[in-house]
């Protein structure tokens, strides 16, 4: 744990949006003392202007902002398909507001003044979540890149293999010889860097190819 902490923080960024300069300065110093990179903004607009964000990262957001309600801002993030984990800080946490925040995907909701350990725990969790997500995103995009290198015939064969068809059935469906199907299948597996048919099926699933073809 300790080792992990000292090894990773340098690359991790915590964004802070709070309109109060005192709170901003305090959080900035606290986050840097723990070893994170801190980037502070006075408004959600400033934060949006600074996108795209570093990764992995998370956002600590004061919900009572002068320029935009924190929750409206969250809607804006969803619209931009921005998946930054958000930790809400609130001066007065009424139940409906916290429920709405959690439903909208807030990773944590903290009442000001909060215990620093609660905030640091929430940040650690949010960053871990973002790291996992980042790994998934990267895996998927590399998968997509590899898939792009397939010919359209190879893609057809791969999809049918993933659906569990035998080579003979595939040959029948596509009007090819069984040997040709075998060659396409071999090319697809090599290009996709799949170790086994099961592996190829998992990739097809990630790429969303498992819907039966019309």
């Amino acid at each position: 744990m300790n080792q992990e902490q000292s090894a990773r923080p340098a690359a991790q960024t915590v964004y802070v949006v709070d309109d109060d300069p005192s709170v901003r300065d305090g959080l900035d110093s606290l986050l840097r003392s723990v070893g994170y990179r801190a980037a502070c903004f006075a408004s959600t607009a400033e934060f949006l202007a600074a996108l795209p964000r570093a990764r992995p990262s998370c956002l600590v957001l004061d919900i009572r902002m002068p320029d935009a309600n924190g929750l409206d801002f969250q809607d804006e993030l969803v619209r931009r398909a921005e998946t930054v984990p958000v930790i809400f800080l609130s001066g007065h946490g009424d139940v409906p507001m916290s429920v709405r925040a959690m439903k909208a995907g807030a990773s944590e909701f903290l009442l000001k003044p909060f215990r620093e350990q609660d905030l640091l725990d929430a940040i650690r969790q949010a960053l871990a979540g973002d790291r996992t997500r980042q790994a998934q995103d990267e895996a998927l995009s590399s998968l997509r890149e590899r898939y792009q290198t397939l010919t359209s015939r190879e893609r057809e064969v791969m999809a049918l293999v993933a659906l569990g068809r035998l080579n003979k059935q595939i040959a029948g469906e596509l009007g090819l010889s069984e040997i040709t199907v075998k060659v396409h299948r071999g090319h697809a597996m090599r290009k996709m860097q799949a170790d086994s048919v099961a592996d190829l099926i998992r990739m097809a699933e990630s790429l969303g190819l498992l819907r039966p073809m019309g």
Binding site: S22, D25, S29, S33, R64, P66, K112, P113
Partner: protein, 359 residues
């Protein structure tokens, strides 16, 4: 009644008691010495009506008792005229004194009840106002506290780092000191605002009084995206008054202004609060760019239970008016140019402290 209390009574309004004594004496002398067979003592009614002005039931009853004693004494001393008509006159006078005393006491009790109800209303409105403001105040306090906690923890970490980063720690500690001061200011303002003391007349600087009230509203104004401008004269003459009550009036004006501007686009929400004086009086005004006043509204604004707001109780301005008038001032409302409304009040300035009397 103890002696010091009696003395305080008498010294409170010496002219009134002088007039009462002179009047009662004159009537007694005239009643005793004149030969006219008329009920001179009936004039004691005037003495009792004067006593009503003291505003105290005990004083009215005491004066009535003295009048009765004087009338009876006069009856006993009178040497002239018919004994029977003298008796009838004395009886008539006593009846008049009794009846007017009864009326005077009733009047005084009703007035006392009205005053009491008014102060209850003022307190109630203050409580409601505090409810509305408590969220704002909680925010004002929790901001510096949040910052202090963050800086404190940061300072500890900077110092226990290897090697310790003293420069960062020093900066964090400096911010803690500043934030603690800020939290302290908020607490001091709130304490002054909620101090449940009765109305007190003290020499006040309205610029400072108004600025304090506005400081409490800071969060509320910011949350409603209202642009506040102030024109507060630094060299205003002082006024006599109750700081908390006058701040309540200002807060009431500002709260109304915030509501009136809720429908306006954020960049057109302007609030101008000013305090100015001309040597004889001081005027405080709150100018908004809100929806303004309708014709009927302007006529009836200061009436109790009149409200243009769907959720309004119609008490705010009525209470403000009674507060301002109790300070010997006037309250007013007018349209603002090009849009919105101006609410304000004018209080008499104090020239020397000795001259300041009760309203």
């Amino acid at each position: 009644m103890t002696r010091p209390a009696l003395l305080r009574y008498l010294s409170e309004s010496p002219l009134l008691w002088l007039a009462i004594t002179l009047m009662a004496g004159l009537i007694f002398v005239a009643d005793t010495l004149t030969k006219l067979e008329i009920a001179f003592a009936v004039l004691h009614v005037v003495v009792i009506l004067l006593a009503v002005r003291s505003g105290r039931v005990g004083a009215i009853l005491t004066v009535a008792g003295i009048c009765i004693v004087l009338t009876l004494t006069s009856y006993g001393l009178t040497r002239h005229g018919n004994r029977d008509s003298g008796l009838a006159n004395a009886a008539l006078s006593l009846l008049a004194i009794g009846a007017s005393t009864w009326l005077a006491v009733r009047l005084e009790r009703l007035q006392a009840r009205a005053r009491h109800a008014q102060s209850d209303l003022a307190r109630m409105s203050r409580i409601m106002l505090m409810g509305e403001l408590s969220a704002s105040i909680a925010h004002e306090v929790s901001q510096p506290v949040t910052a202090i906690a963050a800086n404190g923890n940061a300072a500890l970490r900077w110092l226990s780092a290897d090697p310790p980063n003293e420069e960062e720690a020093r900066r964090a500690l400096t911010r803690i000191v500043a934030d603690a001061g800020r939290a302290g200011d908020v607490v001091a303002r709130v304490r002054r605002l909620v101090a449940r003391a009765g109305p007190q007349a003290e020499p006040l600087d309205l610029t400072e009084t108004v600025a304090e009230a506005l400081a409490v509203m800071r969060g509320e104004l910011r949350r409603n995206e209202i642009h506040l401008r102030t024109e507060l004269d630094d060299a205003l003459p002082q006024v006599m008054g109750d700081r908390v009550q006058l701040q309540q009036v200002v807060l009431n004006f500002v709260l109304n202004a915030i509501e009136a501007m809720a429908e306006r686009p954020a960049e057109e929400r302007d609030l101008l609060v000013s305090a100015a004086g001309d040597g004889k009086s001081v005027t405080v005004s709150v100018r908004d760019s809100g929806t303004g006043l309708g014709g009927e509204a302007q006529q009836r604004l200061f009436e109790a239970f009149f409200s243009t707001k769907p959720t309004g109780m119609g008490m705010g301005l009525a209470i403000s008016r009674s507060i301002v008038e109790a300070h010997g001032g006037t309250i007013y409302a007018a349209p603002n140019y090009p849009t919105g409304a101006v609410f304000g009040f004018t209080l008499p300035a104090v020239r020397t402290q000795g001259e300041a009397g009760t309203a």
